[in-house]
């Protein structure tokens, strides 16, 4: 990074922190701090909903996944629009009119305190842990870019977000989210433009898409019904529907977004913004990963994108042998790519597919070698593809801009989640059990300290999460342990009049236990855990309710 890049990054950071802190004066009451006095316009809430979901993991992990595995990941979002419609019809008016601070507060009105506390506890646990992963992703990027110590990086990014969230509350979170969305898409737009401008002469984007298409990188539909397959049409449409219903409808980090809207209608429209824009937006981000893949058809990509791990094996003679093989495979692939573009026949296509297969095989051998030498069986460099590409191929200033965009993506998610964790801790535990009728200021001060606590907690978790494979999947896996069951308890609450407190309480415990057993003893992919957890919670909860109701 050069001076200009540093100026861009530091200017961005300074502005965001200042912008967040200056909203402190609008957050001088508990309702202002946690719900922005229910005064925000739909477009700001809608952008905040999208910014909260669009984390740095989405940028770093998804572009890497597109480079490695193609656009199959897009299927993950196919259930999202339907989930948004269901939520607009059901929970948005319900929670909004209930005037609650947290989604779990409603469960006490419907069931009892223990159901509210247990559900809120599951939220705190799963969200607190996943927040650690959300902080870890940009820290991974920075540790490569700046050569910083990873732990130090985690604390720098985590605590800087904690500061403005702690003072500015949900007002700061929402308005910085809006600005951060613009930084992210401006950065990505510039990045895509530069990648395409760096294609060889007489080589168009269409040519690049034909190359990616030939090796199956543009596949956006996998019709197989296979519970052990990660991203298929069915898992994305059906299993992910449960995940999104739970995430947007029962997870405080998202529920709190639409609770800050001016009215039920504005809350609904804010969610429908995602229903319209999320899939095209994700397509655009994946397309950047595809363009990186195309770019590397004509320049040798690093054999290992993680430069720290690469340095550990770089001097070994065996690795040098692998590199020669890798270089030959790349040259062969480049020649096959050129032939295919010059003459798009079935024969040249098959040659290119074969060359790509051989290239991938050599890369897998190298990754296997790194695993063997470092002893790290979970080694995976998917998350390093995009940052390494940016650092090595983008001009000065643009590197800074993209680093700022990654920062923005991370901070927009971290701030919303910190704010939600703080709200749940304050309202579901502190106010409920320790200070029922305390002064408003009391909750405000406690909320600020809770934000600080969760910021530090997430930073500590982050230090352990950087080795857990593709970060985006780790986040979703964490969530999937609890999401289905939490959704199940809300379905019991809203949809089953006979559901009782004991039914809901034991239903959710059984739901989480069933997911734990399924994840330990089967190879079912994590998205299906949402369906399982929800189903078990509803069935067990309803049966117990019927039994206890009769009694």
């Amino acid at each position: 990074m050069k001076t200009l890049d540093w100026v861009v990054v530091v200017a961005y950071l300074a502005y965001v922190i200042w912008d967040g802190i200056r909203l402190t004066k609008k957050s001088e009451s508990a309702e202002g701090y946690f719900l922005a006095n229910r005064s925000l316009p739909w477009w700001a809430v809608g952008l905040s909903v999208m910014a909260t979901q669009l984390s740095a993991i989405t940028l770093v992990g998804t572009t890497g996944q597109a480079y490695d595995d193609g656009m199959r990941f897009l299927q993950f979002y196919y259930g999202l629009p339907l989930a948004m419609i269901i939520l607009c019809v059901t929970v948005v008016p319900f929670f909004y009119r209930a005037k609650v601070y947290t989604a779990y507060e409603y469960l006490e009105r419907r069931f009892d305190a223990k159901t509210r506390s247990l559900t809120s506890f599951f939220f705190l646990l799963s969200r607190g842990l996943s927040l650690g992963v959300v902080i870890a992703a940009p820290s991974v990027v920075l540790s490569i870019v700046l050569g910083w110590n990873e732990v130090l990086t985690i604390f720098v990014i985590g605590l800087s977000t904690t500061i403005y969230t702690m003072f500015g509350g949900v007002q700061a979170v929402t308005w910085t989210d809006v600005k951060q969305m613009f930084v992210i898409f401006f950065g990505l737009g510039v990045c895509l433009f530069i990648i395409v401008s760096n294609f060889p002469e007489n080589f168009s984007v269409t040519d690049g898409l034909f190359l990616a298409g030939a090796v199956g990188k543009l596949e956006t539909f996998d019709w197989r019904f296979d519970l052990t397959s990660k991203y298929t049409f069915w898992s994305g449409t059906f299993a992910a529907l449960f995940l999104f219903l739970s995430y947007f409808g029962c997870d405080q980090s998202q529920v709190q977004r639409f609770l800050t809207a001016k009215s039920v209608s504005e809350g609904r429209i804010s969610l429908l913004m995602s229903a319209f824009l999320k899939i095209p937006m994700q397509f655009f981000i994946l397309l950047i990963g595809i363009m990186v893949f195309v770019f590397y058809q004509f320049q040798t990509p690093p054999a290992i994108f993680n430069s720290v791990e690469e340095a550990k094996v770089a001097q070994l003679q065996e690795y040098q042998g692998f590199l020669q093989k890798y270089q030959i495979a790349h040259q062969k692939r480049e020649e096959a790519a050129i032939s295919y573009i010059e003459n798009r026949s079935e024969e040249t296509k098959q040659d290119y597919i074969q060359a790509q297969k051989e290239f991938t095989q050599v890369r897998q051998e190298i990754i296997g070698f790194v695993k063997k030498v470092t002893g790290d069986e979970k080694f995976n460099d998917v998350n390093y593809v995009f940052p390494r590409f940016v650092i090595e191929n983008m001009p000065n200033g643009v590197i800074g801009l993209i680093i700022a965009a990654i920062f923005a993506a991370a901070m927009s998610t971290i701030s919303s989640e910190l704010n939600a964790l703080s709200t749940a801790t304050t309202m579901d535990f502190y106010r409920r059990y320790f200070a029922k009728n305390a002064a408003d200021r009391n909750y405000l001060i406690f909320g600020r300290f809770a934000t600080l606590f969760w910021g530090i907690f997430a930073c500590i978790v982050a230090t352990y999460s950087t080795r857990l494979g593709s970060l985006i999947e780790v986040v979703n896996k964490f969530g999937s342990y609890f999401y289905g069951s939490i959704l199940g308890v809300f379905i019991l609450a809203i949809g089953f009049k006979r559901a009782t407190a004991n039914g809901a309480f034991f239903g959710i415990i059984t739901g989480v236990a069933s997911v734990y057993i399924a994840s330990s003893y089967s190879s079912i992919e994590f998205l299906w855990f949402n369906v399982l957890g929800c189903f078990v919670t509803v069935v067990v909860g309803y049966l117990i309710s019927l039994f206890s109701f009769r009694k």
Binding site: I85, R97, S263, A275, I279, F496
Partner: protein, 53 residues
Amino acid sequence: MNEPFEEKVLTEKFSKTTEEIPDERWYWIYFSVVITNSILLMLFWLFSRYFSG
């Protein structure tokens, strides 16, 4: 605690907000979400078919 849930009690208790969009307009909005996304997915499918040759 074990009594059936009375939705009416809660509904009456909670205040209703003004400036709401009428229900019949929401049906059209939801319908447009479904149609837009269906067209989008169809375009993605055509996109991948076209470029995979």
